[in-house]
């Protein structure tokens, strides 16, 4: 069997690339930031109220970059409007669901921010609940849109949305801590976010990292003990061509080093918390790269 070799074939481009992977990362970090924003106004944890506005604005800003990536990545940018027209909308297409979510999520966030600024607890909570469902759904959809391709063996797992949501949660917190750190330089002392709150957020981030490592381990088990395609996808594509984003950027830089920092005495130092936050926020992007391009790469030789 090993004596046969493929000598000629058509060449196939990978269809979704860097812009889509950045979009997945942005939507995730946006959803994660919004969850933090909702801690105070939706879940009633009062000490989180001061950061609600910053977190919402960060979530909105990141989401405003998304259309630039998505629309200009289309072959026909003007036709993005088709995704909103009832005559074109296809109910079985995951991307059609995503289009609705991506449109409604920022609208709900804007309304939520309006009520937060107006200090209207009832309506902020009411709209916040809707917005948080939309935030999670928008990111759930990014996992699902690739999961529902049975031919992409690396992506075809029910763990996909969970992996995305957990990554969103930790990268959102990481990015939020960095933003709050920068924000503290520019606001009056009484408006600054307390250090103890950031320590607490880092603690939540640590739980998220542990859960993310657990999910990654489950995914590893499935591919390692799975079909030949899954083993090949993991063993040769992810550990080979996508070794840096998969092993180094996501697993080592994005998960294990921050975890080591956050379980050590360094977690009480500013350098430790900010460093871990930075690594997590950008390490998660490694997962978006291998997830989007790795699954397609294997098949490009078929």
């Amino acid at each position: 069997m090993d004596d046969s070799v493929i000598i000629s074939n058509a060449f196939h481009h990978v269809a979704w690339g860097t812009p889509i992977s950045i979009y997945f990362w942005l939507v995730g970090a946006s959803a994660g930031s919004f969850v933090l924003s909702a801690f105070g106004w939706v879940f009633g944890i009062k000490r989180y109220k001061p950061l609600a506005l910053s977190a919402s604005i960060l979530a909105i800003v990141m989401l405003l970059i998304v259309p630039v990536l998505l629309i200009w990545d289309l072959g026909k940018p003007l036709r993005f409007i088709y995704l909103m027209l009832p005559g074109y909308w296809h109910s079985t297409g995951p991307m059609a669901w995503g289009a609705l979510l991506i449109m409604s999520y920022p609208v709900s966030m804007f309304i939520y921010v309006y009520f937060v600024v107006k200090n209207d607890q009832f309506w902020a909570r009411f709209v916040g609940i809707i917005a948080i469902v939309l935030a999670l759904s928008t990111h759930w959809y990014t996992g699902v849109v690739m999961e529902l391709n049975p031919g992409r063996y690396i992506n075809h797992t029910a763990l996909a949305p969970l992996l995305f949501l957990t990554g969103a949660f930790i990268s959102g917190i990481g990015l939020m801590i960095i933003v709050l750190w920068i924000q503290n330089f520019f606001v009056r002392p009484e408006k600054r976010i307390e250090w103890s709150l950031m320590e607490e957020m880092a603690q939540y981030m640590m739980y998220g990292i542990v859960f993310d490592i657990f999910l990654l381990y489950l995914d590893f088990m499935q591919t390692h003990y799975g079909t030949e395609s899954e083993m090949l996808g993991h063993g040769e594509v992810l550990m080979g061509i996508f070794n840096f984003p998969y092993v180094w950027l996501e697993t080592v830089i994005g998960l294990f080093i921050p975890l080591a920092i956050l379980v050590s005495p360094l977690k009480r130092t500013r350098l430790g918390v900010y460093g871990a936050s930075f690594l997590v926020a950008f390490g998660v992007y490694g997962m978006r790269i291998w997830w989007v391009m790795g699954g397609q790469y294997l098949q490009s030789f078929y």
């Binding site: 090993d2 004596d3 046969s4 070799v5 493929i6 000598i7 000629s8 074939n9 058509a10 060449f11 196939h12 481009h13 990978v14 269809a15 979704w16 690339g17 860097t18 812009p19 992977s21 200009w72 990545d73 289309l74 072959g75 940018p77 003007l78 036709r79 993005f80 088709y82 995704l83 074109y88 909308w89 296809h90 079985t92 297409g93 995951p94 991307m95 059609a96 690739m146 529902l148 391709n149 049975p150 031919g151 030949e228 395609s229 090949l232 040769e236 061509i241 996508f242 070794n243 840096f244 984003p245 790269i289 989007v292 397609q296 790469y297 294997l298 098949q299 490009s300 030789f301 078929y302």
Partner: protein
């Protein structure tokens, strides 16, 4: 369609006929022929496998398309509507057979479709006139046989019922309409295609990626830094925006001023 691999001699007439029938641009294919060498010298054999859209009974591309640009017609042909396609490439990602491609922007004819997804149509325009698809017409060995599987008297129905046939990736449940006779696992299996690709094929593919960027900003050149290509793809994407924006601007101008 039935493809009798015992009769395929790898002449590529089908590929040329398809390219000529539709003016398929450089770097993309509606049909192609995969080639593998088997055995060890002096006991070697060259095997071929023509590939095309499988016109699945349960096509993932149709299910996943967000704008109903691709559909399955009443005769079972999976077809593409250029005027509905937004070029999102969801169907390209969904297709387990690599049967879809994005038409490149650089095409000679002014009114030819660009940056929308294209695929094999089983030459529906010929079939409607009682002709066979161009690839079937051009096949010198008679390896490609086309017909109605629901008609028990058709040659394809007889072949499928009599011969040992196989389909590609049956485990995915797509129920393909392209059947192979005499299929060799060495060339039909996806994992084998990846694991046992020749060094020369990898180098050719790398050269192809460097010269045919595609319009998806997604290719990674094997053997070079992955992160470099991730960054390069993003830089190329950003560089493409003004050009696409000019296209949008011109479309608006045309709409308003005629």
């Amino acid at each position: 369609m039935v493809i009798d691999l015992r009769k395929c001699i790898g002449c590529m007439s089908c590929v040329v006929a398809c390219k000529a029938e539709y003016g398929v641009p450089l770097g993309v294919w509606r049909t192609w022929v995969k080639v593998a060498d088997k055995g060890r010298y002096p006991h070697t054999k060259r095997v071929f496998m023509p590939r095309l859209c499988n016109h699945c009974d349960y096509p993932i591309c149709v299910r996943n398309c967000p704008t109903q640009a691709t559909f399955k017609n009443e005769d079972g042909f999976v077809l593409q509507r250029y005027n509905r396609c937004i070029g999102c490439r969801t169907c390209v990602v969904a297709c387990p057979y690599n049967a879809r491609h994005l038409l490149p922007e650089a095409r000679k004819g002014k009114n030819l479709p660009r940056l929308v997804v294209d695929k094999c149509t089983f030459c529906i325009h010929r079939v409607k006139k009682g002709l066979v698809p161009a690839c079937v017409q051009a096949c010198v060995g008679g390896a490609r046989i086309f017909g109605d599987l629901n008609d028990p008297k058709s040659q394809v129905a007889k072949l499928v019922s009599k011969e040992q046939v196989s389909v590609l990736k049956p485990e995915l449940g797509t129920s393909p309409s392209v059947y192979y006779i005499g299929g060799d696992w060495a060339i039909m299996d996806e994992n084998h295609s990846y694991k046992f690709r020749s060094r020369q094929l990898v180098e050719e593919f790398n050269t192809f990626k460097k010269n045919h960027f595609g319009d998806a900003f997604a290719d990674i050149v094997e053997g070079e830094s992955t992160m470099y290509w991730v960054g390069k793809n993003m830089a190329d994407f950003i560089a493409s925006i003004p050009h696409k924006a000019a296209g949008v601007f011109n479309a608006f101008k045309k709409l308003i001023f005629g």
